[in-house]
Symmetry: C2
Subunit: 217 residues, 2 copies
């Protein structure tokens, strides 16, 4: 299918490359049409890859990934244009991290709201699915980097959209994708970031993830 990947950073590059490998036509979107990273990616990723402005990319995609920095995601999506997002699945991978005071970052929104909810409110005719924001980009596209069973989370208000996103990301190799409910569950997955950052320090690698372990028999 035709997929837009908004954002040219490591997350966008990793997801866009994986999606091309899986046979999708992918257009990477950025603030400007001639973004250097997007141009380099297009040149390297082959005939199914292209790039353009946020608006051109969103218009191209039947499904849109938001891989922009969380603190500027709403601005990027406004630039993509509501009419280019309406009726489409919008997979929000971003975390609303504020690095302006250095490390560790804080969240620009949390507790009584979340970036996922902000996006859904601002683009009510898009089907926002929060996904993948609790794992590093390397693990997103190659879950086998983590040894043993582990889980990734999705949430969103549209059941069909979640089913389709789960089908899409299962192709990346994900065997356990837990649906946590409506988009307000994004508060939970976004607020996991401070713990994730501590675990990164503890594990001394980003190639880790969490497994939800249920009751003993």
């Amino acid at each position: 299918m035709r997929i837009a990947v908004l954002g040219t950073g490591v997350v966008g590059q990793a997801l866009a490359t994986k999606l091309v490998e899986l046979g999708h036509e992918v257009r990477m979107g950025s603030r400007t049409a001639d973004n250097e990273q997007a141009s380099a990616w297009t040149a390297a990723a082959g005939s199914r890859a292209s790039h353009g402005t946020f608006a051109k990319a969103a218009a191209f995609g039947a499904l849109v990934f938001n891989c922009t920095a969380g603190a500027s995601s709403l601005a990027a999506l406004r630039s993509a244009g509501e009419k280019n997002l309406n009726g489409k699945i919008l997979v929000d991978v971003a975390n609303p991290l504020d690095f302006s005071e250095g490390m560790p970052p804080t969240l620009t929104v949390c507790n009584t709201d979340s970036l996922g909810e902000q996006i859904q409110r601002e683009f009510p005719a898009a089907q926002v699915v929060k996904a993948f924001n609790t794992v590093n980009y390397r693990v997103m596209v190659d879950p086998g980097l983590v040894g043993g069973a582990h889980d990734v989370f999705v949430c969103g208000d549209d059941e069909d959209a979640k089913v389709r996103v789960k089908e899409l990301i299962a192709r990346f190799g994900w065997e356990s994708i837990l649906d946590l409910g409506d988009i307000t569950a994004a508060r939970g997955t976004e607020m996991m970031l401070p713990l994730w950052i501590r675990l990164w320090g503890f594990m001394e690698t980003t190639d880790f993830n969490l497994k939800v372990v249920g009751p003993a028999d």
Copy 2:
């Protein structure tokens, strides 16, 4: 050893009972000396159990567990009295949950601060160790309720205090206790609560926990 358990709810009762079972002398503290739940617990828990005011309990304990409701923990600890906490390990199990707007609760403090940090700041001569707040009280005292390997977290500024808390709770059956660093890591473990609450809904039981899964070999 002599241990104070501040709080008479399910968390305090479970921890106090477990500590008595392990041979410790435990005094349960509450706002009033004649708290009904504390009296009933003392009557049931045997000769090593006693109860009293927060201050009487804290004065008794060589180590103090804060098992009060997070939203009122600072008030409870003030009532316990700084002089009764100074120089002691203060294990903070509480979560700063605000149920005033119904379910799901929000946090009374998060993002740039945490309850663990607030307690450490207010009682600088106590060695605050945040622990256990990411698991249900049943799992705290009986980690075997969860099937397979799983982790619990501690954090705090005092290395010796963390070692001693790890030794103490290992006796509950915990095989994997991860030290996430200084007390600011409490932001991470407290902000995990919104995700925990969603996972509770997903798992349909409180007998679950998380396992941090590292890289494949």
